[in-house]
């Protein structure tokens, strides 16, 4: 067993800010991340030089600066390390470099980020159909394009940089298909005030798309992907006000890749395992830990920051990370509480602005209800266990109203991803079919390990509380 003063889980922008801030105040910090290098998906290091990279935004520059501070900060960085269990007493089970380790921290900052939300449609499991995030990583890391002729579809601001980057690595992006109507951007309205960095980014991407001749189509969605061994064409339809495809409006485009994104939802599994209280807040991206003014969860000494606490982007995450770093320094006795309260006061207006903007994005750019009827009865919704929409619908018709109950009646959520992908989809399917608020569908119960760990490493490991 190892002890540390502060464990930060997740080395994306928020986690980096928290770790470096706390370390600057003399706190002993262990920074843990699953990826090979710190930076998260947002600051993913370039594996391929050259044209895969656009000029950095202000937030990216701040993130890079944090990575520079990290070098030589004395922070114990554990890359390629999974936290597979966490207890309320801040006892963490790590797996990295083929080894298990038990780490007990005085303070834990959860900065586990968010994952992409998907909507199933016929053909979404075909090779060549992927999330926008996966396409971004391919391009960032390896300079590879997801395909030669690519369609980018879904909803929200992530579609733009995805299309732009794909174009830069040599793909022909046939179109961006956004399910929200064009007026959605207008609804953002005054919430954009002050987010000049984001506005500049938006304008940059807008121009880049124009220059590349990529059409940006609103109020439409991909309703099916077709092909034999992989995607060969995608069907696009216009949507009515409820988000249902309008019959007769379908057109097919030939593509060899389809990148889909419907925004992000927080990764809350570790918070669940530890027993943090959760709440369903669509403005924050779905199920999130209940957090207070200095990012504290319902558990003593456990904080949650960044997209994990509310999907608001890197800049908001770094601001919260700094605050959480100060709070951690206070909790281990390195800073007076006044230093934290001053920072809270100073950042309050900026944080409100991020919350407003984030809340607007998280509620405007969501998959419309009508899209959840795209899946045909034979379309798979739980990819790990290959459970079809028809099976799920039959069971919901039989009276099932919660995710964990659905898991008993079918096999959903029991595979390697443990419901990370299908959970939000099934919650929507239950809510719509049963006519109940989505929060009442609940969230899949989580049991260790949070992520798969090799049996041999588990067998060879030791813990303080082992039985003889």
């Amino acid at each position: 067993m190892t002890r540390t003063e502060l464990a930060v889980i997740g080395a994306g922008p928020a986690g980096l800010a928290a770790a470096t801030t706390a370390a600057a105040h003399g706190v002993q910090v262990t920074l843990i991340d699953e990826l090979p290098a710190p930076g998260g998906q947002y600051l993913a290091p370039a594996g391929a030089p050259g044209r895969a990279h656009a000029p950095l935004s202000a937030a990216e520059r701040r993130g890079q600066a944090l990575l520079d501070v990290l070098t030589g900060s004395g922070i114990d960085v554990r890359a390629e390390t999974i936290v597979w269990n966490m207890a309320a007493d801040r006892r963490l089970q790590l797996y990295g470099a083929g080894q298990m380790e038990e780490l007990v921290a005085q303070v834990v900052i959860l900065a586990c980020g968010a994952r992409e939300v998907s909507v199933p449609f016929p053909g979404w499991t075909l090779p060549g159909v992927m999330t926008a995030g996966a396409a971004q990583l391919l391009a960032k890391r390896h300079g590879l394009a997801a395909g030669k002729r690519v369609l980018v579809a879904g909803s929200g601001p992530l579609l733009l940089p995805t299309a732009e980057r794909l174009a830069r690595v040599g793909a022909t992006v046939v179109a961006i298909v956004e399910s929200a109507p064009m007026t959605a951007w207008m609804r953002l309205g005054t919430t954009m005030w002050g987010h000049w960095d984001r506005v500049r980014e938006g304008i940059h991407y807008g121009w880049a798309l124009l220059r590349a001749g990529i059409p940006y189509r609103f109020g439409r969605a991909v309703t099916a992907a077709r092909g034999h061994d992989r995607i060969e064409s995608a069907t696009i339809a216009r949507l009515d006000a409820a988000g249902r495809p309008i019959p007769g409006s379908e057109t097919a485009v030939d593509v060899d890749a389809l990148c889909v994104s419907f925004g992000l939802t927080p990764n809350v599994e570790l918070a669940q395992l530890a027993g943090c209280e959760l709440v369903y807040e669509p403005q924050r991206g779905g199920w999130t830990p209940v957090v207070g003014g200095c990012c504290q969860t319902s558990l003593a000494g456990v904080l949650a920051i960044g997209d994990m606490g509310a999907v608001e982007g890197a800049a908001a995450g770094m601001l919260e990370g700094r605050l959480a770093g100060l709070q951690a320094a206070h909790l281990v006795g390195r800073l007076p509480v006044t230093a934290v309260t001053e920072a809270i006061t100073k950042d309050a207006a900026a944080r409100r602005r991020y919350h407003r903007f984030g809340a607007a994005l998280n509620t405007i750019f969501v998959p419309p209800d009508g899209l959840f009827s795209l899946a045909a009865d034979d379309t798979i919704v739980c990819r790990c266990e290959e459970v079809t929409a028809g099976e799920v619908r039959r069971v919901i018709a039989g009276g099932v109203t919660e995710l964990d109950s659905l898991k008993q009646w079918t096999r959903v959520g029991q595979g390697p991803c443990q419901g990370r992908t299908c959970g939000p989809i099934l919650a929507q399917m239950i809510a719509q079919q049963a006519g109940r608020p989505i929060a009442e569908s609940g969230v899949f119960h989580v049991r260790p390990p949070a992520k798969p760990v090799p049996l041999a490493a588990l067998a060879a490991s030791r813990g303080e509380r082992d039985v003889a």
Partner: protein, 388 residues
């Protein structure tokens, strides 16, 4: 035809509902959360006859095994029944000799068994550790998916007219002036019935306690690990030789013995542990480490496989390792304890609940419908504890 209220939507409640509704009773199943939410989803799906040392338990297990085979043919919904056979593993020559003596005893009560020496064992299961001395092959053991089996029984019961109400928590029992149990209490009001069948597993004890009835049932916790897909890694369920002993000891300390079961989906379920830990259902890292260590010892090829999930369930333990099936003997003062009255018990199966579910349902249904104790029930009648 009697109105029967079944408390509990686990495998035992499901089997009771199925056989009762099949016999013409009007059945209502009350489940506090949802089907198989308790112990019936947190277990393996083995239907074993070879681990039951007492003749009484053995005859129940063999009867139930036949009923499972019948159900696999008759129920509409598939629950992945496979008559897979099972192998009890012996690490050393001494263990093999002991296992052989046990097998010989079981053969006398009609259970088929075959002693395997090292070569025979590895021919059947090439991925087992090469140093094992051998094992006993029991060809008639079977397996199901416990959760699907619960669902299949309840769906069949519904088609026979039973009503399933999920999200209704039974908080207690209500007695008439003469002591007969006439209703269950819930937050949504009382539900009356001619007979109440208490099939709430480890939670039965709390419900019975509301009328001062002390059931000798304690929660005994068991852990299971689920691996990533390894189809074909093993061809039969495998049980460490000490498994049966770990079940039958009353020891307070934690027992760990390997049980490995391949599911239809290709994931492997790895157990087992037995531990008295109250009603705590959380997963203990220490125990899943110990199970992982046993698994790798017997199946070295598992080393590279991942654990994707773990869970713990509470098995309803009784002092003599036999379930409580039959009337609770609450009735007009002075009446015999086995007289059918308002309250029937169907709990206390510990780790054998999946296997013994059909025979339990059949005993409960026969007894309630005929008013006579079925011969099979002699060893499991609750009167053995309740009359004094």
């Amino acid at each position: 035809m009697p109105d029967v209220v079944v408390v509990g939507g686990g495998i035992i409640g499901a089997a009771c509902a199925y056989y009762l509704s099949g016999a013409g009773a009007s059945v209502r199943v009350l489940e506090r959360r949802w089907v198989a939410n308790g112990t019936s989803r947190a277990c393996d799906g083995l239907i074993l006859v070879s681990d039951k040392p007492s003749p009484a338990e053995s005859i129940l297990a063999q009867t139930s095994a036949h009923l499972w085979a019948e159900l696999a043919d008759t129920l509409d919904q598939d629950f992945e029944y496979v008559r897979s056979g099972a192998i009890v593993l012996a690490e050393t020559a001494e263990e093999l000799a002991e296992a052989g003596r046990k097998a010989a005893r079981l053969q006398q009560s009609g259970i088929r068994a075959e002693v395997l020496h090292a070569a025979g064992l590895h021919a059947l299961e090439p991925n087992l550790a090469p140093d094992l001395a051998g094992g006993i092959y029991y060809p008639d053991e079977a397996q199901v998916d416990a959760r699907l089996a619960t669902v299949a029984l309840l769906q069949a019961a519904r088609r026979q007219g039973a009503v399933l109400q999920e999200g209704v928590e039974v908080t207690g029992l209500r007695q008439a002036a003469d002591g007969r149990v006439v209703a269950v209490t819930t937050q949504a009001g009382d539900v009356a019935g001619d007979v109440i069948v208490l099939a709430a597993g480890v939670w039965s004890e709390q419900i019975a306690a509301t009328i001062g009835l002390a059931l000798p049932v304690r929660p005994r916790k068991g852990h299971i690990l689920v691996t990533g897909r390894v189809p074909g890694l093993i061809r039969h369920p495998l049980l460490e030789g000490s498994y049966s002993a770990s079940v039958h000891t009353a020891a307070e300390e934690t027992q760990v013995a390997l049980v490995a079961e391949m599911t239809a989906g290709g994931t492997l379920l790895l157990g087992s542990s037995r531990e008295f830990a109250g009603f705590d259902r959380s997963v203990s890292e220490a125990i899943i480490r110990a199970i992982a260590a046993r698994a790798v010892r017997f199946l070295p090829a598992l080393a590279r496989t991942s654990v994707i999930r773990s869970y713990a369930g509470l098995r309803p333990w009784t002092p003599d390792h036999l379930p409580l099936i039959g009337p609770a003997g609450l009735g007009p003062a002075g009446g015999p304890a086995d007289l059918p009255t308002g309250l029937f018990l169907a709990t206390g199966h510990e780790g054998a609940g999946i296997g013994l579910a059909p025979v339990t349902g059949q005993i409960v249904a026969d007894w309630i419908m005929s008013g006579q104790m079925p011969a099979l029930a002699e060893s499991v009648r609750p009167g053995r504890f309740l009359e004094n």
